[in-house]
Structure formats: C-alpha cells, structure tokens
Symmetry: C2
Subunit: 216 residues, 2 copies
C-alpha cells in the first residue's frame, strides 16, 4: 500500500463489516464539537472513493463556524418545509404530521433541530449529472465518520434557498450542490445499528429482471 | 447492534481504514468465479447504505451467467466507444489513443477485456434523479467487495445499447440504470492501494468557498 496523506489508523479501530452494518442515519446530535483532525481524516477518506475518469470534480465545504451553522440551519428548515409543500402536503409544523408518518416526523424534527449540529459538510459537483463522482465520496465520508463514532445522514436543500446559501458561503454559480451532511456525536445510545431494509430477495435479481437470487 | 440478515463477519477480516484507503478501481480481473455467498454479503452491505426517506428505490441485477456476461461485454465495448465518439474523439481502437492519455487507455483496455469478468452488477433507480438513493449502495458494494479481496469499479453504458441491454435482461422501461459494476479478483498484485487524488487542501474548504482548511 502506498503512503496515505494522512494517518488513517484511527479508522482501524473498527472493522469493515461492523461499520457497513451499523451506519444508520443519525438525526439527533450532541453539540460537542468535531475535532479538525477527525474532519481531516474523514475528508481524506471521502476523496479516495471512485470518480469518473479521475477528473475529481467534487468539492466540499466544511462548516464549523457557529454563526454560519445557525444561519444554515434556518435555511435548511425553510428548505425542508418547501419540499413538503412541493410534494402537496399542507403541514406547516411537526404537530400537523400524522403519527404514522414516522419518517417525515423524524425528518421534521431534524429540520427543527439542525441548529444544534457542530458541523455540516456540503458536497458539490459541476452539475446534477456528476452524482457518480460526488456521492461515493459522501458515502465514504459518512462511513469514516461512523468509524469515529460520529453520526450523519445525507440531506438536500431546495431551490428556494439556494441563492441565499450561495451568497452566505461564497459558492460560485458554476457548481451544483448534491448533498448537505450534518455531522455530530449521536444524542442517543443505540443510534448506530443495522438499518431496516426490504429483504434483498425482493430488490436483487440474478441474471434476469425479477429472477430470484439463490438466498431468497 | 441488531441482528443482521446475513453473517457479515467475513467482512471483519479487514479494518475500516485499510479498506477506505485501498479501494482503488480495478480494471484487470482473473476469471475465477465469485461465490454466491460473497455476492450475498456484498449485496446485503449495499442495501444498508442511506437512501432518501427509506423509499428504497434501488434495484440490482447480478449477472453470473457466462453467455449473458459475454453479450454484456460486447455491449459494454460498443457503449464505451460510442461515448468517446460523443466526446469528439476519432479513435476507433486502443492503438489510436495517445500514450499520454493513460486513463483512456486503461478504460479502453477494460472495454476490450470485459468479457473475462466473472460477475457484473447493474444498479438501477426509478430515474436519473435517484442517484443519492442508489450510488451510496454501489459504494458500499464496492467496499464490501474490496474487503473480500474482490476488485471492482463503477462504469456506465450509453443510450445506443440500452434497448438491447433491456431486452437481453428483461429490464422494464420504468427503471433507470445508474451504474454497471464488474466484479472479479484482481489479475495483478498491488491492484489495491491508496488512490491518487488532488490534495484535499485544494478540494475542501472551511466555512467559505476557497477558504483554506487548517491542514493545508
């Protein structure tokens, strides 16, 4: 193995399987800061992911400044409710969301509590078509974070706030925001664990569409 | 940690940091088959990745059938050259590609040698906009493969072959192919290692676009 540009051995405190099978989306964070050394190793892990033709179009903006985090959390909340409005929902607060809509209620709580996160990472490409050169890095980033006990999840903003986000952070028009990832130590125990998914026998086929895999 | 639906402990033979910092794109494969148990654990790792609202739109088609792999490799080669044609290149064979275009020559060699791969995985979403619900799973898939010593890289097809691909594999028009991932044991030693990347001090900013990170 070639030398890496950062000492990544702290990530070796966890094993690959334990990380892949316990990286669950974390939506409630402690305010404790993330050290810049941790952010460094997380970002080095991010950029190791594959990208098309090694053009490396991905750019990342790490936010740790308290005033910027506060403003971004306001814009995130506005964006979250704008997306619900676009989707035809008339809810205007968490109380309006029916209890059975658990995913929406959890996401709304995050939108209300984003102000508490100690760090955000914004992941950009050249355009919306660059996903396969940006999103693998975001997944590496979140796995590396989980390896350090730091929770995260991928979120999106909404066009209604983008001009203000770009002005706030000096983001040029020539780039496209793919994902915004809040980072923080989980506020609850058991925040990490195996994510709930449909059985792979329903989502994975062998040799022909809809043909069962042998483990089904 | 909750019970996982597969025994993923084989993935614990490698540590997180060693995997994140050695998953390099592999383009030359041995023909040795990948066991279905390995494919199973790889796909279980894939679906654990985050996806938007837990809608789980991703679908995967694993190809291990020799005749299908042969036909897909022909279509992959045709697609690869069609992309070069779209990009304005007049090359029609590897010999036409200048030696300094190392990335293109390596990719062209893969296009010529894809027939040798023992497995391919096709990753689908509902549309091209589903990338953030499909591509994280593809990255998990490739990391899990690397954890088992199996090489891979993300590739794309081209519209000119899609109708034939869909007919060959029974793929419905209602889904969108994001990536095609060949899987195989590397043909060369030292296939894995730290990928070459720009310094993160050039691609990661702190609190404002173009503002240096402290490790730069």
């Amino acid at each position: 193995m070639m030398d890496a540009p950062v000492d990544y051995r702290r990530l070796n405190n966890m094993k690959l399987g334990d990380v892949l099978f316990s990286q669950r989306s974390v939506r409630r964070f402690r305010p404790d800061p993330i050290s810049i050394d941790d952010i460094h190793v997380i970002m080095e892990a991010a950029v190791r992911a594959p990208n098309g033709g090694n053009d490396q179009p991905a750019r990342f903006l790490v936010i740790t400044d308290r005033a910027l985090l506060d403003r971004m959390s306001q814009l995130y909340r506005e964006a979250w409710w704008a997306k619900r409005h676009d989707a035809g929902y008339t809810w205007t607060s968490i109380e309006d969301i029916p209890p059975e809509e658990k995913n929406y209620r959890a996401a709304a709580r995050l939108a209300e509590n984003m102000a508490g996160v100690p760090a955000m990472i914004l992941a950009f490409g050249r355009s919306s078509e660059d996903g396969s050169s940006v999103i693998p890095a975001v997944q590496n980033l979140m796995l590396a974070a989980r390896g350090l006990g730091i929770g995260s999840l991928p979120t999106r903003l909404h066009p209604v706030v983008m001009q203000r986000v770009n002005e706030l952070l000096g983001i040029p028009d020539s780039v496209h925001l793919h994902l915004l990832i809040p980072l923080g130590y989980p506020a609850t125990e058991k925040a990490f664990g195996v994510s709930r998914r449909k059985p792979t026998s329903e989502t994975v086929y062998l040799n022909h569409w809809d043909q069962a895999v042998p483990w089904s």
